[in-house]
Symmetry: C2
Subunit: 297 residues, 2 copies
């Protein structure tokens, strides 16, 4: 590949901006490279501390505005200090394009009956495989990743790093606690019967993180997603300082609130309306938009 590919990317013809993340200085593009469909991802790189001296000495500076003690400049660093990480997918399929395409999301308000008549039948029709979860629980995969295990079949769980965490720094610590029991699909299934399980994960999860990583319980965010990305009950744990994707109030439920809500109302999550975002192309959304079926009439 080598040189051949390099020439190709420089000949990339942009057809469409799939997504523009101004805050993250990242852009997803669709186009063609030598007649082949391609997706190109551009991401400016973080500023590196050890290049700062050269950056200030060797850059071209243009003052843009000045007000009292505040001055802004446009700084043009030497090219080698300011690179863009570029990822090329080529040839790209429709699936790649859809993956990176910005999608509108909508908030869905799911009543208890909606869950029973729309969401649950949809989930059951999808038959998502949980084999990868069972492989972890049965020690057939990611064994060396396990941070902590409570093997109890009713109250136990396995704690391990989320795949999004590279484990190189604690700033973005992200772990998952996966319960051993296999009969809880999501938050919707929880009742006060599960309080011993939830309290066990809350206590032992915090203890394990403090022992292994030195992060105390009050600097740890523990929450569940609804909808989750897979329907085997699990709890997310991150460093509080890390604004991980998926910590928004639209989708996350703090473990401490879940416990308290079940303490006060054993059927809280069986009876309430739960609000969550769905992407426009999510199969579940179309079911919410269809005329309700006759079961509701």
């Amino acid at each position: 590949a080598g040189d051949g590919d390099v020439c190709e990317v420089s000949g990339f013809e942009v057809k469409k901006v799939l997504r523009d993340c101004a805050r993250e200085k990242t852009m997803f593009l669709q186009g063609k490279i030598a007649e082949k469909e391609a997706v190109v991802i551009l991401e400016k790189t973080p500023i590196h501390v050890d290049t700062l001296n050269e950056l200030f000495r060797e850059s071209q500076l243009t003052m843009e505005s000045n007000n009292d003690i505040y001055t802004t400049y446009c700084l043009q660093p030497p090219a080698h200090l300011n690179v863009i990480k570029t990822t090329v997918v080529c040839p790209a399929t429709e699936k790649h394009v859809r993956k990176y395409q910005e999608q509108e999301t909508v908030l869905v308000e799911e009543t208890a009956e909606d869950y029973r008549t729309i969401t649950l039948p949809f989930l059951e029709s999808q038959s998502f495989s949980l084999q990868w979860v069972y492989n972890i629980l049965e020690k057939k995969a990611e064994v060396e990743q396990v941070v902590y295990e409570d093997p109890d079949p009713k109250l136990g769980f396995i704690l391990l790093p989320d795949f999004k965490w590279d484990q190189k720094q604690l700033d973005d610590l992200y772990l998952i606690a996966i319960v051993h029991r296999r009969d809880i699909k999501s938050l919707r299934d929880l009742t006060s019967d599960h309080l011993p399980l939830l309290r066990n994960i809350q206590k032992k999860g915090k203890d394990a993180v403090r022992e292994r990583y030195g992060i105390k319980g009050d600097k740890l965010r523990m929450y569940v997603h609804y909808q989750p990305s897979y329907y085997h009950f699990h709890i997310h744990l991150n460093a509080l300082k890390y604004n991980a994707p998926g910590t928004g109030v639209d989708r996350a439920h703090l473990l401490s609130n879940v416990i308290q809500n079940l303490e006060c109302d054993p059927q809280y999550y069986k009876t309430r309306t739960l609000t969550f975002p769905l992407r426009e192309l999510d199969g579940l959304l179309s079911h919410f938009r269809e005329p309700k079926d006759s079961a509701k009439l």
Copy 2:
């Protein structure tokens, strides 16, 4: 100033990294410029669509890895296409340094009694001025900003853009609904008596946003903060697609959940333990860490 200042920044001596936002490609630095204390903020700029052709044609490309259809490159753009926005505060005071300094936050679990014995006395001792809020409600300030008003003294509110929103695009739409009544400090004061007020804001707020901006209710996030940044009850509204700061599950409470919780338990927010983050330097935190006073014994 002009040229003189330009020379100064290029002579900036870095003493300390105050904050490093790798995800946003931004860095906050403390140091000296010609013996004067200075804070310098570096922020890589977003990628601009109209420079893409030149970017691909004129950059130097180095292949870094290749796996099947995925290839990554290091791209060195011409310096003028890849600038860093630089803001200089000089001379900077201790207050500037503290403002930009990364601060640890901790999660606090505030029981109903903690609120009564710690938080409420602390708030009352601070006597934060709400004059700027009253100026808005009395039409003495920001009159031309008002998007919608329901003037009812019990159920009414004023809807206006949050100061963080520049109103140039709808992607990051951010509005605030400020209630006319002045006797609700925060979420903690709400009971089922306030349900007509909350439902009124939910309905009329959504209607006003749809009429003025064309954004439908299912693409709008409505929530309150606890702790709020000021103790006059208000509700945040943003475009669902915008991950605004403060939408995290640590601090935000969805309006639809607040309404539902009060419908099921009129004293929900008067009795529950509420979890929220506090920065290490927040005055309130020290009160939570002090030995509880004798009132609790």
